[in-house]
């Protein structure tokens, strides 16, 4: 049976043969961020894939990874496309460099994990909060439940972390 749930008015479906995504989102539902780690390369990868991008190896383990990182870049949407986001603009999609494996295996690589900017209690960030976030902001992962056994990862400002004085933002506000 596919896992299916409604999330902000969108129907999200994971087919039963899609075991990589079933496991990834299943761990999220338990409040755990786990990534595949290639047995040969010892390298983590995101998002879930069927083989290791560095060795092509199909064997892997799901290992827990700390959901902390730094905003690498972002999209800040002011004109919504999907009906589900009509009432949500402006909203941010963050591309976050995880602290884990940053700069490996080469210096330009990182585990860059996407998600919306949410408040610590899981609501879409209000406009004042959006204006405080940019490249360099320290963030931590939060999860939003879709249905039983299915949650998706998002990001919130990490209040315990040291924050840059002026995270980089698009200059024209």
């Amino acid at each position: 049976m596919p896992i299916q749930g409604e999330y902000r008015g969108m129907m999200l479906t994971i087919d039963d043969v899609d075991k990589e995504n079933r496991e990834f989102f299943g761990h999220c539902a338990k409040g755990e961020f786990r990534l595949q780690k290639g047995k040969e390369s010892g390298l983590l990868r995101y998002p879930p894939t069927t083989a290791c991008p560095w060795t092509g190896e199909r064997e892997y383990d799901w290992v827990p990874v700390e959901g902390k990182g730094t905003v690498h870049s972002y999209a800040e949407v002011h004109h919504p496309i999907q009906p589900a986001f009509k009432e949500k603009v402006p909203y941010m999609v963050l591309v976050v460099d995880l602290d884990t494996q940053k700069g490996a295996p080469t210096e330009v690589e990182a585990l860059r994990v996407a998600g919306n900017l949410l408040t610590a209690d899981g609501e879409f960030a209000p406009p004042e909060m959006i204006k405080s976030v940019g490249i360099g902001t320290r963030v931590k992962m939060v999860f939003r439940q879709v249905t039983d056994g299915f949650a998706i990862p998002h990001w919130a400002i990490d209040d315990d972390a040291e924050q840059p004085e002026n995270p980089w933002r698009y200059p024209q506000e």
């Binding site: 969108m10 479906t13 991008p53 999209a75 330009v108 919306n116």
Partner: protein, 424 residues
């Protein structure tokens, strides 16, 4: 074979087919919003125009290639309508990185003896049926599996997906919105000299940066237009092309769907640098294979789904130093009258949206010396170009002998082609 060994190869050998094939025919429909025609009818119209342009009838065309996102029409249907019996066809999935890639495939299948002449087309109701921006029917498509990693975040349209690369370029290199807006200013100037263009009004940098924000850093006027149209080019061997009424645009090299490491639209962010695009790799194929460099190019056709896409490609193909794209596009070089104009038709920002083919059509016209709708025809039947680029004037580039097209799928994937005038 590794990329480096390709570059070290003797590119004058038969294998590279440099200068052996040409575009001999070009055709298009009008560029409109609300075509009130099926994509099948649009395709028939554009291919028919390209056949007329090439002086060919149904018996001269025996191959077809086309691309779409399931929003076009299959080749055997159009071939049937035009009375063409095909020896080869293929309908492929794809968008803006398709035209140049399919030219390469056409050369390959002709070389293999599978057919003699290939019509390549793209037919789309990009405004009235399947909106490229993802609005309308496309926005309500169910979200399944891998798509959850982006579409569930409201990260779906091209502008939304590319934005992190654009912003990171501004962060990495200090690129300014006003510099990038100069792409729109240049292309609107070109469009004002192109009666076919959907948007013909000349715009200023202020017009662009004061238009409303769609998705930072993209203002409304940083984004291309959505239109309904079809386009077609015909590829054949140079000796056959020489029998056609118009001068051939001779293909010097092609690169097709060259990718960054992990080059998928959703995966390339894992590699990086995310402000580098696939042209960084494609340049090492097209320039050595053509036996020339960026300095030899007279006119560029850098894909302008957005102002930023044109700039990033011009930079990563080596028309300026990495990071200097903002300076390059705001220097006047890319405007008619500048040293190396880009998209002299007005491109996707102004003329109409065709998933790249119209930019190859325009460069073919430039090489023919026929990219002009206003100058008088002389006694020899040719346009007497004034090279006066004032509004409503000439758009032929003086001395346009070599062109470079740079197709774009997304930051991680691109295609390219160098064409030249017939040296005979």
């Amino acid at each position: 074979m590794s990329l480096s060994s390709v570059n070290e190869a003797d590119t004058s050998t038969e294998k590279y087919l440099r200068g052996k094939y040409a575009i001999c025919g070009i055709g298009e429909t009008s560029y409109r919003r609300g075509s009130e025609e099926s994509t099948r009818n649009l395709a028939t119209w554009a291919i028919g125009n390209a056949m007329k342009d090439a002086g060919m009838d149904a018996g001269d065309i025996d191959g077809m290639l086309d691309y779409s996102g399931n929003d076009s029409v299959f080749a055997p249907h159009v071939a049937n309508d035009l009375g063409i019996r095909l020896n080869f066809y293929m309908d492929v999935h794809g968008g803006g990185s398709s035209t140049e890639a399919l030219v390469g495939i056409a050369i390959g299948v002709i070389e293999a003896g599978m057919c003699k002449t290939v019509a390549i087309y793209r037919a789309m109701n990009g405004y009235s049926q399947v909106r490229i921006g993802g609005t309308g029917a496309r926005s309500a498509v169910p979200i399944v599996g891998d798509q959850i990693h982006h579409r569930a975040y409201g990260w779906q349209s091209a502008g939304q997906m590319f934005a992190p690369s654009f912003l990171r370029h501004m962060y990495d290199y200090g690129t300014k919105p006003e510099q990038v807006a100069a792409v729109k200013v240049a292309h609107s100037k070109h469009a004002s000299n192109n009666p076919k263009a959907y948007y013909k009004q000349r715009l200023t940098v202020d017009d662009v940066v004061n238009s409303r924000i769609i998705c930072k850093p993209l203002h409304l006027l940083d984004c291309c237009v959505e239109t309904d149209n079809a386009t077609c080019i015909i590829v054949t061997r140079l000796d056959r092309a020489r029998d056609c009424p118009n001068p051939p645009a001779v293909i010097q090299s092609v690169a097709g769907r060259v990718c960054k490491p992990r080059g998928d639209i959703h995966l390339h962010y894992q590699g990086g640098p995310i402000s580098t695009v696939a042209g960084h790799y494609a340049k090492d194929i097209i320039f050595p294979n053509a036996g020339m460099g960026p300095e030899d190019i007279d006119v560029t056709g850098s894909y302008d789904a957005f102002t930023f896409t044109a700039m990033l490609q011009l930079e990563d193909y080596g028309f300026c130093k990495k990071g200097d794209g903002g300076d390059y596009v705001s220097s006047g070089i890319i405007e008619l009258g500048g040293a190396r104009p880009n998209n002299t038709s007005g491109g996707h920002l102004c003329e109409g949206y065709t998933h790249g083919m119209s930019m190859v059509i325009e460069n073919t016209r430039q090489l023919r010396g026929a990219a002009d709708d206003s100058c008088p025809v002389g006694p020899d039947g040719k346009k007497q170009h004034t090279y006066d680029y004032a509004e409503g004037g000439c758009r032929q580039v003086k001395g346009a002998e070599v062109t470079c097209n740079m197709g774009w799928a997304h930051p991680g994937t691109g295609s390219a082609m160098i064409m030249a005038q017939d040296a005979r």
